[in-house]
Symmetry: C2
């Protein structure tokens, strides 16, 4: 176990840790006493039909949902809904390489798949909260992967689904992009096959991965129009260090690699012997597929191809020069679009 | 000096080495006895008005122009034109870090700018060949940067210009992409601040840079449709190693870094105190601006913004799922489009 103050209640809370027992994993490993870190806003009503589930994305936690997406008067309104945000396995808050005791710590943390997260969340939702139908599952990026997994795996439990900036089956291009992120970390000699003593030792690898994120995470137009200035930076270099490196530096490398492995292999067609159309055909949820127009690695056309395979679905493109990282909410025109689509989706009987 | 058999007549020839004397550089250095490696096809006519100049791109040499672009019946027809392809400084064939004797060898090779290359080429074209007007300057990527530089710097000498998949002023996004390529190499401990004994020592860094190229060089659709299969590969991993790594592995890291530094800073507005409109306004050449629709780092909209600043110009988009690396010519639908545009351009009185 590595003591990493970044993953604290102070930074990411309040959240509650729920232990859901031993989680047997698709790849053969087991997370013993699996813990899920959950943030919740609003109250579950008596009928238990006002629950919204949010799975988290790579490197992100429930905190950014609290800060950017949830609030009174928003689509995700805690005055109307019981909103449960479950931090994914490997996020650093839930069971993760850095917070697991030996011998399954660090690089010995077992391989986890999107399906494992969703089964763990299902156990939490049904057994801890007694919810048997979710009004909405919504998530961005890896959260979208989990949203698709939910809608395919438990079609009767998901009334509505809103995968934002993500795919049901990860693409070959996305796989190799993620591989470069991982290599940026693992090529740092200080990574020591995952046996570093603190994330600070691996800072050069983390800094390199941060800069790769800058290239693919935003958009060419984000840099052309110097949108980074609106975030308070004085030059591209200032932004790369002051924003991108600052964001990733405190994170645990093994945690990031755990999530990346999962991201690379997200694929709902694993449930239907590789038949993607059959998998997406199982979805009963009213689904809004919501890519971001400038996203360089979950491009709208990839999302649209999947949307066409979902019967009760609509294709809702969010426009933002932020590209994929518009998810961070720094574009003031992003949030209102998300709210508009989600409000409409939530108003649709399902 | 490093003996590197990759940069040989056998691999890249036939080419001729022309020494153009000492080249004083914009950044203050000097290349003493600067050599330019030139391939030429066809014959210069008596009027000396049938010359086409081709500057090369990052990592590419005159060989790929011979193999993919030049030939009887093609737009670049050696039966009609005298076609001169000048390998850029740092290419490994012309004066470059790896082939320069001490003390200016390797990482001590001076900083070179696009303008230095173009001034060197101007000296060659005028003094060696006695040409005072070029029927066409055409180049891809960094070759496009040099094409723009030619048309702005020597407006009376360039009758026609065809910058393919490149910009007159490099973008901020492109700069940081290139920086990640450089970091992939320089973060390899075997790079030793540029004082490696052979490129083979730096193979891990070169392999990583090859994989970054895979992410940005082709297109998401190239991988979606598994276009790599048409190149004879059995999986993405097979392609990444068998094509991308194979391509970059034999190259000299300092040579690549020399070109990359130049690429990052390409900017014709250096000639007009930073006024890009004024710089492009100097162009007299009939210009076809030819981006590739799926290019991820020289996107068409960046090229179009520049095209609008060139008075006698047209915007001609090449369609290819190959993205930027469609330049390699592996897409059978790419060459005919280039030929169609260049033939039309060459048929235009200028």
């Amino acid at each position: 176990m590595i003591d990493n103050p970044y993953y604290s209640q102070e930074n990411h809370g309040p959240y509650e840790l729920h232990e859901i027992g031993d989680l047997m994993l698709e790849e053969g490993g087991t997370i013993r006493g699996c813990k899920l870190a959950c943030a919740a806003w609003g109250k579950l009503n008596r009928a238990k039909d006002n629950a919204i589930l949010i799975p988290t994305w790579y490197s992100g936690t429930s905190k950014i949902w609290e800060q950017v997406y949830v609030g009174p008067g928003r689509a995700l309104d805690p005055e109307k809904y019981f909103i449960l945000c479950v931090n994914q396995i490997g996020s650093g808050l839930s069971s993760s390489p850095h917070n697991t005791p030996p011998p399954f710590n660090g690089p010995r943390f077992p391989r986890v798949r999107i399906g494992d997260d969703v089964r763990a969340q299902h156990k939490l939702v049904t057994e801890v909260y007694g919810i048997d139908r979710l009004a909405l599952v919504v998530g961005g990026s890896m959260g979208a992967q989990q949203t698709y997994e939910w809608a395919v795996r438990y079609p009767d439990m998901v009334a509505r689904a809103a995968p934002i900036a993500g795919t049901a089956k990860n693409t070959g291009h996305d796989f190799i992009f993620t591989a470069t992120l991982n290599e940026a970390i693992t090529s740092d000699p200080a990574w020591k096959d995952g046996w570093y003593d603190s994330s600070a030792e691996v800072h050069l690898g983390l800094r390199r991965q941060a800069r790769l994120w800058a290239v693919m995470g935003w958009s060419t137009e984000f840099f052309k129009r110097e949108v980074w200035r609106t975030l308070g930076f004085s030059s591209v270099e200032d932004f790369l260090t002051g924003f991108m490196e600052a964001y990733f530096l405190p994170m645990d490398p093994n945690d990031l690699l755990c999530m990346a492995w999962k991201w690379q292999r997200g694929d709902v067609s694993r449930m239907t012997n590789g038949d993607l159309a059959a998998a997406l055909g199982r979805i009963k949820a009213k689904t809004f597929v919501m890519p971001i127009d400038e996203d360089m690695f979950f491009p709208p056309r990839d999302c649209e191809a999947e949307q066409k395979l979902i019967s009760n679905s609509e294709f809702r493109v969010i426009e933002s020069l932020g590209g994929h990282l518009a998810l961070f909410g720094s574009d003031p025109e992003y949030g209102p679009q998300v709210d508009r689509h989600l409000s409409e989706l939530l108003a649709t009987p399902a």
